[in-house]
């Protein structure tokens, strides 16, 4: 056992945790490589924060083991685990200056005063707030506070840094900038990072790998592009990115493809899940950017014909919602801004799908 875990920075093995009768984590195992940026992604209540708190030591597992740098930390309290932690609402100490906040961890680790001053200065410069050391946290903006919190967590050179939805309280227009900054610092320091979020676009943009969680279990653990292009379950397909979802029935299948009936249309597409048998109900997923609007009753309209219901303009593209006779609504992405005039509300249009990029999963 020790051999396998030693090569990983953090390893979680068969961890269970229940609160009363609610299972928060159900036999979760996970390994994080040294220097990796791993994200725990899922809706609220999926267990991602519990898992983070278990690694930090704020919560004790009912079962299973947690190792950091190859050593079991099950018996260690949080203050002996050598972790850096960043919280959603910053959790800066309001009665201390920014410099004292950043230096707090060093003081606790009995670093000499002169060295503290040097390291605090370097940490503040790393987050580009070198001139704010004397301020109080409450005088700073949310983005600045979170950068201070990051500096405070990193200055003690932790073995792993844990971030609990650090950007969710920050103004949306500043968030993208903070994300890029975090990623650059993380890459420069090469520090193992575990990041918790419920925001899939944040997870996609930052992570080396993403663990998608649901109901206390890990549904899929993959690199972002794999998750987006090859979701392993209908939950992952629904949760990551925008997607259309339709019930259908399997009519025929070969080794690699299957034919499904959706309303009165027959479609043949690649198989994306092993458990698909003929006659079974299934769910077909296809992303808006894999759909194209074509003239109504065109031969290319392999998904059929409907009426334009709504336009949703987004700057770089327009999402056109097309309503079919059977009340199904499809979201089709059209780049640029012209779709609002090209396809008027109420107009009949055909929808063509790139079925090579469709996903099919058994209906649960």
């Amino acid at each position: 056992m020790t051999q396998t875990t030693e090569s990983f920075s953090v390893s979680v093995a068969n961890v269970r945790k229940a609160y009363g009768t609610t299972t928060a984590l159900d036999d979760v195992s996970l390994t994080v490589q040294a220097g990796e940026f791993l994200t725990l992604l899922g809706p609220s209540g999926c267990g991602k924060t519990t898992l983070l708190n278990l690694i930090a030591g704020f919560v004790q597992p009912d079962q299973g083991s947690i190792c950091i740098d190859g050593e079991s930390v099950n018996e260690l309290p949080p203050y002996r685990r050598s972790i850096g932690m960043v919280f959603q609402h910053y959790a800066l100490f309001p009665h201390m200056s920014v410099a004292d906040n950043v230096g707090f961890g060093l003081k606790m680790h009995q670093v000499p005063k002169s060295e503290i001053a040097v390291r605090v200065k370097a940490a503040l410069e790393m987050v580009r707030l070198g001139q704010l050391g004397e301020r109080r946290p409450r005088e700073l903006s949310g983005g600045q506070q979170q950068r201070i919190a990051l500096a405070r967590a990193l200055v003690i050179n932790p073995k792993v840094v844990l971030l609990d939805e650090p950007f969710s309280a920050i103004d949306k227009n500043l968030r993208a900038e903070m994300q890029v900054e975090l990623k650059q610092i993380q890459q420069r320091l090469g520090i193992t990072t575990i990041f918790v979020t419920h925001d899939q676009s944040e997870a996609l943009s930052l992570s080396d790998r993403i663990a998608v969680m649901s109901n206390g279990q890990i549904e899929q653990l993959s690199a972002p592009a794999d998750l987006y292009r090859h979701p392993a379950s209908s939950f992952v397909a629904s949760f990551i990115g925008d997607i259309n979802r339709f019930p259908c029935v399997i009519k025929a299948r070969t080794e690699t493809t299957c034919t499904v009936a959706m309303a009165d249309t027959l479609l043949t597409l690649p198989i994306t899940h092993p458990a698909l048998s003929i006659g079974a109900a299934a769910l077909l997923f296809i992303r808006p950017e894999e759909l194209t609007l074509v003239p109504s009753h065109s031969d290319a309209a392999n998904l059929g014909t409907g009426q334009v219901d709504t336009h949703v303009y987004q700057g770089t593209h327009v999402d056109v919602y097309v309503r079919f006779a059977d009340a199904r609504v499809l979201r089709v992405r059209h780049p640029g801004w012209q779709a609002t005039s090209l396809f008027a509300l109420g107009q009949a249009v055909g929808v063509q799908a790139n079925l090579q990029q469709a996903f099919i999963f058994p209906a649960r």
Binding site: P78, H89, H95
Partner: protein, 267 residues
């Protein structure tokens, strides 16, 4: 309709204000009477009752006793109340609600009963009517008020601060001393102050547990009032009211009135 209501509301508030403020005003005015009788309105002006209030021996001794007892009682109550509030707010355990209920019970148990109980206890344990007995009695009485004040302050501390400190290597003790305690300080000061005022003014239970040597100012005043009916009482009351107001005005600058009287409603 709405207009009528508005007028009624104003009238009720004005009346309430009058009645609340009136007694203090009456006492203050009465203190300046020149006759040796408690009478309102006064018939002349004199400061001699103030002089007597300041020079009367029992009052001097009562004041000193009051300070000693108040200082000890509030400080002990602060320690016990803080521990109680921290334990109740931070830990989830069986009997937590019972602990809370018992610590708060002096709010609803008559001071009268408490005084008698302390008297019985003292005689059972053959203890004299010493300062410790009075202090113990006052600690019990002011404990709920201190607890409330600390409790509200604790609720306002983000629990993530403790976790942040722990992740940075602070042990629970370091965390309490360096994070919780500095953040609790204004709440503790407010709780101590309010407890001190209550303890200093307590009469009912104190009446039973003090002897001649340990009597506090209110008890001395009661003894005086049973012998004399002159405005000395009013003069002393006026002085106490003035001292309290000055004290609170000063404290208000540092702590805020709402915090001292523990009426702030969370964040």
């Amino acid at each position: 309709m709405d207009q009528l209501l508005r007028v009624m509301v104003r009238v009720v508030i004005a009346l309430t204000l009058c009645f609340v403020a009136l007694p203090s005003l009456v006492v203050i005015v009465t203190a300046f009477n020149d006759k040796a009788i408690l009478m309102f309105p006064p018939t002349g002006f004199s400061l001699r009752w103030f002089e007597r209030a300041i020079t009367y021996d029992d009052f001097r001794r009562g004041l000193m006793n009051g300070f000693i007892i108040t200082a000890w009682a509030s400080s002990l109550a602060l320690v016990c109340g803080t521990l109680g509030a921290v334990v109740i707010e931070r830990y989830r355990f069986a009997g937590r609600r019972w602990l809370e209920a018992i610590l708060l019970s002096p709010l609803v148990i008559p001071h009268f009963t408490l005084g008698i109980a302390m008297l019985i206890l003292a005689s059972a344990m053959h203890v004299e009517r010493t300062y410790s007995l009075v202090v113990l009695c006052h600690v019990i009485l002011v404990l709920p008020f201190v607890m409330r004040s600390v409790y509200v302050s604790l609720k306002n501390i983000d629990p993530a601060l403790g976790r942040a400190a722990a992740s940075l290597g602070a042990t629970p003790l370091q965390c309490f001393l360096r994070i919780d305690l500095p953040l609790l300080a204004p709440g503790l000061a407010g709780g101590w102050l309010f407890a001190a005022i209550l303890s200093f003014n307590e009469f009912t239970a104190t009446l039973f547990v003090t002897g001649q040597r340990t009597q506090t100012l209110p008890v001395a005043m009661y003894t005086y009032v049973r012998e004399y009916a002159d405005p000395t009482m009013a003069a002393l009351s006026a002085l106490l009211i003035a001292a309290t107001v000055l004290f609170l005005l000063a404290a208000n600058r540092w702590l805020g009135l709402a915090r001292i009287l523990s009426i702030e409603a969370g964040r």
